[in-house]
């Protein structure tokens, strides 16, 4: 479980980093806090030629409120700093809850926002040591056309287990991706792909630099179901955002995390709740849409039947909590 040999580059500026990314030979991996990448390297899931450290890049730092009221978070912000930021705790307590849900304080002291958003997908047939995988045989992600999780699956079905995306997607956050070609900005929900191997749209020459959250006075609830309190990836997580107050809402965004390969935006359930309200009728109708909206689920880490049940449980609990909140 030792680290494979690699070069380590720590650029002073974003431009320098982007140039390394464009010009360095071989496989370059972006390194935030390293809590995911380093362990995957120990397991020989990643064997990059170069690690490009982003955590001290000045352009990726800081928490700022923009003139229009938007909140801008640097991708290299440590989760610990986000959890402690007054501007966040006052305005987005549920988002802070999501950041705090990540692993443990020790991990959050290292882990960055960008790292959590780019967290690789996970599968218990893949996220194992090399010896373990050699015994099982390679899979879609490790070089063969076999999926051990779902026989015949055409794409990798590994799970997106990151805690922060659901809440940020519910808040309609955007991410800014920089490359030596320029910069582009897209909604976080469009950042993710339903493919456990290329699970984001980040191009090989791009770096995620910042996250922008538009101003809102909507209610937001975040819930995470785990086997134990803390220090754990979730079995399932949900973020629900709604306008209005009490049982009335005209616009909702519901995002489920950890059950699928990309965070899942539930448009059908949101629409049912907007039409029928957050009362029991609306809730039942929303739950009834889940089966279709979720589609097939895997047995990774927990049984598919339980995942389906969990989606319903999380939605119910979140909406019940939302009902108690005023705008």
């Amino acid at each position: 479980m030792l680290l494979p040999e690699h070069d380590f580059v720590k650029p002073a500026t974003l431009a320098e980093g982007l140039a390394v990314l464009r010009d360095a030979p071989g496989d370059v991996r972006l390194l935030g806090g390293g809590t995911d990448v380093v362990f995957n390297m120990r397991c020989r899931l990643l064997t990059p030629d170069t690690l490009l450290s982003l955590k001290d890049l000045p352009e990726l730092q800081g928490i700022a409120v923009l003139p229009d009221g938007s909140l801008q978070l640097g991708a290299a912000c440590r989760l610990t700093d986000l959890v402690a930021a007054t501007v966040l705790t006052e305005r987005y307590p549920a988002l802070v809850k999501a950041f705090r849900a990540v692993a443990s304080r020790h991990v959050r002291n290292l882990a960055t926002l960008g790292g959590n958003l780019c967290l690789d997908t996970r599968c218990w047939f893949t996220n194992q040591t090399k010896e373990w995988r050699d015994a099982k045989g390679p899979c879609l992600k490790t070089g063969k056309d076999v999926c051990h999780a779902i026989a015949g699956a055409p794409v990798c079905v590994a799970l997106n287990n990151a805690d922060s995306p659901p809440a940020l997607i519910a808040l309609e956050a955007t991410v800014t991706l920089a490359s030596s070609r320029g910069e582009r900005r897209l909604g976080l929900q469009d950042f993710y792909r339903e493919d456990g191997i290329r699970h984001t749209v980040l191009e090989p020459d791009e770096i995620l630099t910042r996250v922008t959250i538009p101003p809102t006075t909507d209610r937001l609830v975040f819930l995470k179901e785990t086997a134990r309190q803390g220090m754990d990836f979730s079995y399932g997580a949900i973020a629900v955002r709604a306008d209005g107050s009490g049982a009335t809402a005209s616009r909702l965004r519901i995002v489920l995390g950890s059950l699928t390969t990309a965070p899942r935006l539930l448009a059908g359930a949101a629409e049912r709740l907007a039409v029928l309200g957050l009362g029991d009728d609306g809730l039942d109708a929303a739950c009834a849409t889940l089966r279709d909206e979720l589609g097939p689920l895997t047995n990774l880490y927990s049984p598919a039947a339980y995942k389906r049940e969990l989606a319903r449980i999380l939605l119910r609990k979140a909406v019940l909590e939302l009902r108690e909140m005023q705008a």
Binding site: W124, A227, R228, P303, Y306
Partner: protein, 756 residues
């Protein structure tokens, strides 16, 4: 807790003497030790659950610069790990992870690279990767000597079970299953072997006791036992997982012999789950016959164990037979057990031994019996519970027994009568009882020995082979020594964990530490005190037996501790001995062995009540409170006892609700602390401790074990509480959210209680 006047140290809430060393990171563990010239060993393991080995070629690995030794079966063709199991795979591999070859190199990365250069050609054979499959008629036979894949059977009748069942008014049968579970030791498996001198093998490793390791390694390498030295300074947990040497101990020694250098092998995170030998899949069928008024006539248990690929740990097969006799006054007991081969890692047992997981099922079954009779389970257990002086059908004698007092006190303290059957839906309360032997004779002797040396400055050194694996045994041994010699625990230095230095001691398993080693230490201290008294008595003008030793003083019994001319400080007394005419250096020795031909001298008993809350929406269980009563004879160190109870409640709850190796084709899917879902301290419920002191006639100061008895009872109480909350016996542990949701939904769909 009683603390008679004449005891000054025993019964005190004594913090661990090594606590500061531990929390400040100064304690040395095996992996901290680096010897000059030390090499790093790695093991090449089988990638197949079952295969024929066609060819092994190690030449490329051997040629890699930095590689100092490569071994495979040809280097030790006759070396066995267990009776029919070659140390390194010979011709066949029988599980994923089986040891095929090993390398030692100057650098861990070189060792890792060398593994990749070993070429092994396999012909894959059909494997059997579950206990269920192993027992099917068309299952492949895994070993030529084991028809039906049955490795061993054990059948035992006590009394006349057929007659007792026939005489019963009601006979109830239940089935239960427990999964593969890992001991999750804080300190991963590690061995450092130095075999550079062919006449002496030194092995540094965490262990529960040196003799078993010495004997096994000596046999394998053609040495006398004393030519093998085991050094085990600090041990990061054991939980039955370090009872015997494992393959990596032998392999490290073999590599060291070949390379002529010390070799360290330490487990990687997931290798730990291959080396572990924790508990395997187990199937249970319980049958109980009772009279209409609730008297148990006959008990029966039929247990099928997954042995894994090799029958390494057959002891767990016969342990349930006596255990079934220890709790209830019954007419007859029947045990049927079998050990079944599968193509998986060889198995042993987990914290709580076989008794914990057995109890999680058996106690649910017995509560089921009580409820069928319309009886309160607490009353049912009490009505049938044994009394002191009971002679059990298996020959066990219980000189002290506080079982009924334990039941009475947990029933009272937990508010059982106000809660049982009266809680709101999905709140549950459960009771369990259990017993545990303090040591036991499984060989010619069950001996522990101890030595004590008193220096001229009054410092007392205790030499003991009992390891401190976190349970605080060294602190308790210091307390016993201090009590006898009339000094303070802080005055005792412990020299332990080196088989070249410390006197014989089987070690810390079968709950023999406090009881057996404690008796040996007490004898050694009494021997030292008698020597000192022989000098001091005449100087004070009294018989040696008329002296009182306490508070670092020696004085004439019945007088004041500091009467002039009638007392000495302990240090003065030692000075009188050392600098007197005889120039006597005080050295005490003690050796203790049960006088019984077999079995144990003392048994502890316990009862616990657990309260849980099940979330019917998510299936999650919260353990709210555990009320734990344990008859431990005497609490030598109540602080340590409470720590034992906390730890065992935690681990017991964890095994019932959380722990499971999820298996796929003979591989563990969750071989890490992240995915093997242990709870955290946040999940530990409130624990109320009730220490029942029955003062056992054979125990040191009356003490019996508290090292495993409580977890057995916790597993029963928590399982019963969850069953009580959802309305029926749960046929399987761990009781995960998805398993509970299935039961809850099924009961709702069929209109069964609890209604909500």
């Amino acid at each position: 807790m009683s603390k008679p006047e004449d005891l000054s140290v025993i019964g005190r809430r004594q913090p661990r003497l090594d606590g500061f060393e531990k929390v400040s990171g100064r304690s040395v563990f095996t992996d901290d030790i680096v010897l000059p010239g030390m090499l790093h060993g790695r093991i090449l393991r089988s990638p197949h659950a079952r295969a024929r080995i066609i060819r092994i070629d190690v030449s490329k690995a051997r040629a890699l610069p930095g590689v100092k030794a490569v071994v495979s079966n040809v280097d030790a063709p006759d070396m066995l790990f267990s009776e029919k199991q070659p140390l390194l795979a010979k011709g066949f591999v029988h599980y994923v992870g089986e040891e095929v070859a090993a390398v030692a190199a100057t650098d861990p990365l070189i060792a890792e690279a060398a593994l990749d250069l070993i070429e092994v050609e396999y012909e894959v054979l059909p494997a059997v990767t579950s206990l269920r499959r192993a027992q099917q008629l068309d299952a492949p036979q895994l070993h030529e000597w084991a028809a039906g894949n049955v490795a061993l059977t054990h059948e035992k009748d006590f009394g006349d079970p057929d007659a007792a069942f026939a005489a019963s008014d009601l006979v109830i049968t239940d089935e239960f299953r427990s999964p593969v579970q890992h001991n999750t030791l804080a300190e991963l498996h590690v061995a450092l072997a130095d075999f550079t001198n062919p006449d002496k093998l030194h092995v540094w490793t965490p262990t529960q006791g040196a003799p078993m390791y010495q004997m096994a390694l000596a046999k394998a390498f053609g040495l006398e036992t004393s030519q093998v030295r085991i050094v085990y300074g600090n041990v990061g947990g054991a939980f039955t997982g370090r009872g015997r040497a494992k393959p990596h101990h032998f392999i490290a020694a073999l590599l060291s012999r070949v390379a002529g250098k010390p070799v360290k092998i330490k487990a990687t995170g997931d290798e730990e789950f291959i080396m572990f030998r924790g508990s395997g899949e187990t199937q249970y069928r319980f049958r109980t016959g009772v009279t209409r008024d609730g008297k148990i006539r006959a008990l029966e248990a039929d247990v099928t164990f997954d042995a894994g690929a090799h029958a390494e740990w057959a002891m767990i097969l016969w342990l349930p037979a006596p255990y079934l006799n220890w709790l209830y006054k019954v007419d007859a007991v029947r045990y049927r057990g079998r050990f079944v081969y599968t193509s998986t890692v060889p198995k042993g047992s987990h914290h709580g031994g076989i008794f914990g997981r057995l109890s999680a099922g058996w106690m649910q079954h017995l509560n089921h019996v009580a409820e069928e009779l319309g009886m309160d389970p607490a009353e049912f257990h009490r009505k049938n519970a044994i009394d002191p002086g009971h002679h059990a059908l298996d020959g066990s004698d219980f000189a002290s027994c506080g079982l009924k007092e334990c039941i009475d006190r947990v029933v009272e303290r937990s508010g059982w009568k106000a809660k049982y059957g009266k809680l709101p839906p999905y709140r549950g309360i459960g009771i369990g009882i259990g017993a545990q032997a303090s040591g036991g004779k499984n060989a010619a002797n069950d001996t522990s020995a101890a030595m004590i040396r008193v220096a001229d400055d009054g410092v007392v050194t205790l030499y003991t082979g009992i390891p401190d694996m976190g349970q605080g045994s060294h602190t308790v041994m210091a307390m016993i020594t201090a009590e006898v010699l009339g000094v303070e625990p802080e005055d005792i230095r412990i020299v332990g964990g080196d088989s070249d230095i410390t006197p014989f001691d089987w070690g810390a398993f079968s709950q023999r530490g406090t009881f057996t080693t404690g008796n040996a230490v007490k004898l050694a201290a009494e021997d030292a005190r008698a020597q000192l008294a022989g000098i001091v008595g005449p100087l004070l003008g009294v018989a040696a037996t008329d002296l009182k030793f306490a508070h670092r003083r020696v004085w004439v019994r019945g007088e004041t501790p500091d009467a002039t001319g009638r007392s000495f400080s302990f240090r003065e007394a030692i000075g009188k001995a050392f600098n007197g005419v005889q120039g006597l250096a005080i050295m005490g020795r003690g050796s203790f062995n049960s006088p019984r031909p077999s079995g144990s001298l003392a048994y502890s008993f316990g009862a616990q009540v657990a309260e849980v809350e099940v979330d019917p929406e998510s299936g999650a269980v919260k353990v709210i409170k555990v009320t734990a009563a344990h008859d431990l004879g005497r609490a030598l160190n109540p602080l340590a006892v409470e720590g034992q109870l906390d730890g065992q409640v935690f681990s017991g709850m964890s095994q019932v609700l959380y722990e499971e190796c999820r298996m796929d084709g003979g591989q563990i899917l969750n071989p890490s602390r992240l995915e093997y879902k242990l709870p955290r301290t946040y999940e530990l419920p409130e624990v109320e401790y009730i220490l029942v002191e029955t003062i056992d006639p054979y125990g040191p100061f009356g003490a019996k074990e508290v090292g495993e008895g409580p977890i057995v009872v916790t597993m029963a109480a928590v399982a019963n509480a969850v069953a009580n909350a959802v309305g029926e016996m749960l046929p399987q542990i761990p009781m995960t959210p998805w398993r509970l949701l299935r039961v809850i939904r099924h009961r709702r769909n069929h209109g069964l209680a609890p209604a909500d």
